[in-house]
């Protein structure tokens, strides 16, 4: 019963976001501020995660390919498709749910418990629209670029690791990258990214917006934001794969 209530409450919250902005240029400025924070602010952690994921995929693939009939270029294919189809759009977005989601929930939650949201409401401003809508627009626009960078960096990581360890020499790896490439995989990954970006920002904002209490509850809201975002990402990852790839 509680979950059904929460889903309905979340839906009402989303419908309140789409109202005419009081000042379009103020919202626009907020969108750019959020894009900078979410996009540039996430590049470091995304790059580090991606390069190591790419490296590990390459070395593990090399370790598992023991049949001499399987060419070494298959390692490049595996690394490329793993990064594009799953690791960059899903795992990286789960990492970002931890970084961006907890930040959003704690920011909005703190604004709630320190009456900053009440101050916005009293001025006659749609507080949920002003605080949340720019975050959703910014994330759905900027995070696909972050995921594209992750794909590139991850594949480069695999190349470096394969060449430096001798597990997969560069010519084989590069040949594998070009073998049977399906451009739709990138489109599929970007579609998933947009959906996950929406989930992370809207779920985390919802958790923060309805925080009641003090510092303890802000922390709990932040934790719930990350947990629910991750569960929903996995659920929608399965749904998208079933709908778009099978």
């Amino acid at each position: 019963m509680k979950y059904i209530f929460s889903i309905g409450h979340y839906w009402i919250f989303l419908t309140r976001l789409v109202q005419k902005p009081e000042r379009f240029n103020v919202y626009l400025r907020q969108i750019f501020i959020e894009m900078e924070a979410m996009g540039f602010g996430s590049l470091g952690i995304v790059a580090v995660n991606s390069i190591f994921m790419g490296a590990v995929i390459t070395i593990q693939s090399a370790y598992n390919i023991v049949n001499p009939l399987v060419p070494l270029s298959a390692i490049g294919v595996v690394a490329r498709d793993s990064m594009i189809l799953e690791f960059s759009p899903t795992v990286i977005m789960m990492v970002l749910a931890g970084k961006i989601g907890s930040s959003i929930a704690s920011e909005i939650g703190t604004m709630r418990v320190t009456e900053q949201i009440d101050a916005i409401e009293i001025m006659g401003i749609n507080s949920s629209g002003f605080l949340v809508l720019p975050k959703i627009i910014a994330s759905t626009f900027i995070l696909p670029f972050v995921v594209l960078i992750s794909m590139f960096v991850g594949i480069m990581g695999g190349w470096l690791a394969g060449d430096l360890t001798g597990a997969c020499p560069a010519p084989d790896y590069l040949k594998g990258l070009q073998d049977s490439f399906v451009p739709f995989n990138v489109t599929f990954a970007l579609i998933k990214t947009v959906i996950f970006a929406f989930i992370i920002t809207s779920v985390s904002s919802y958790q923060g917006y309805f925080t009641r209490g003090g510092a303890l509850e802000v922390g709990q809201a932040s934790t719930r934001a990350v947990v629910y975002s991750n569960i929903l990402i996995l659920l929608f990852d399965y749904i998208c794969t079933q709908l778009l790839l099978v």
Binding site: E22, R23, V26, E107, T110, M111, T114, E115, Q116, D118, A119, E121, I122, M123, G124, I125
Partner: protein
Amino acid sequence: MIEVHNLTKRFASHTVLENVTCSFVPGKVNLIIGASGSGKTVLMKCIVGLHEPDEGRIIYDGTDFTGLSHKDRKPIQQKIGMLFQSGALFDSMSVKQNVMFPLNMFSNMTYKERVDRIEFCLNRVNLSNVGHLYPAALSGGMKKRVAIARAIANQPKYLFVDEPNSGLDPQTSLVIDHLIKEITEEFNIVTIVNTHDMNTVVESGANILFIHKGKKWFHGTAAELIRSDNKELNDFVFASKMMRSYREKANQ
């Protein structure tokens, strides 16, 4: 003028406010006093629209606020300035950006006019040199003064102040009280201050409403308050030795 008619507010089965009727006049500091948990903050939140009353009406200069939709309330809400107990300054914005926020959202001023207006407001609260600072770098009293500057930036007709002196030393409290009184008289606005600080009652109270256990117990001037023989009111207002000696002096 703000009028409240027969206002009742319940949370689940608990009645927090019961049949409260009162009015608040412009150009004077209207006080709502009462012990913690008496319902004065709920009354203020009902008046500004943060809580919906279960019964009763709230009238802003002849317009029934309770009967309006959220959209139709906006023109009235844009004339409201509010100073919260904690200041409620936006942490992510500097002092200047905080004060400019209502102007950015609602005014049609040019950037130069907005900058002039925030300089005027910050000067008015004697904080002309802190515009570049962020709220985390300000003292409690400075935060309250910045919040006052933000509240008056858009030239409000109604100013609501919730516990202006909580957490402040007596000297700073006095500065804040005087500032609120000066601003109220200077701009002839309806100011409602929610407090349980008796110094504020003595310093600036003109029209005083005493709420006790969710009901209106007293509504009158400071002079009437001093002469009142209402037991609950006297127990609350003259609880301290200082206030009792003040009453004796006033009665002499």
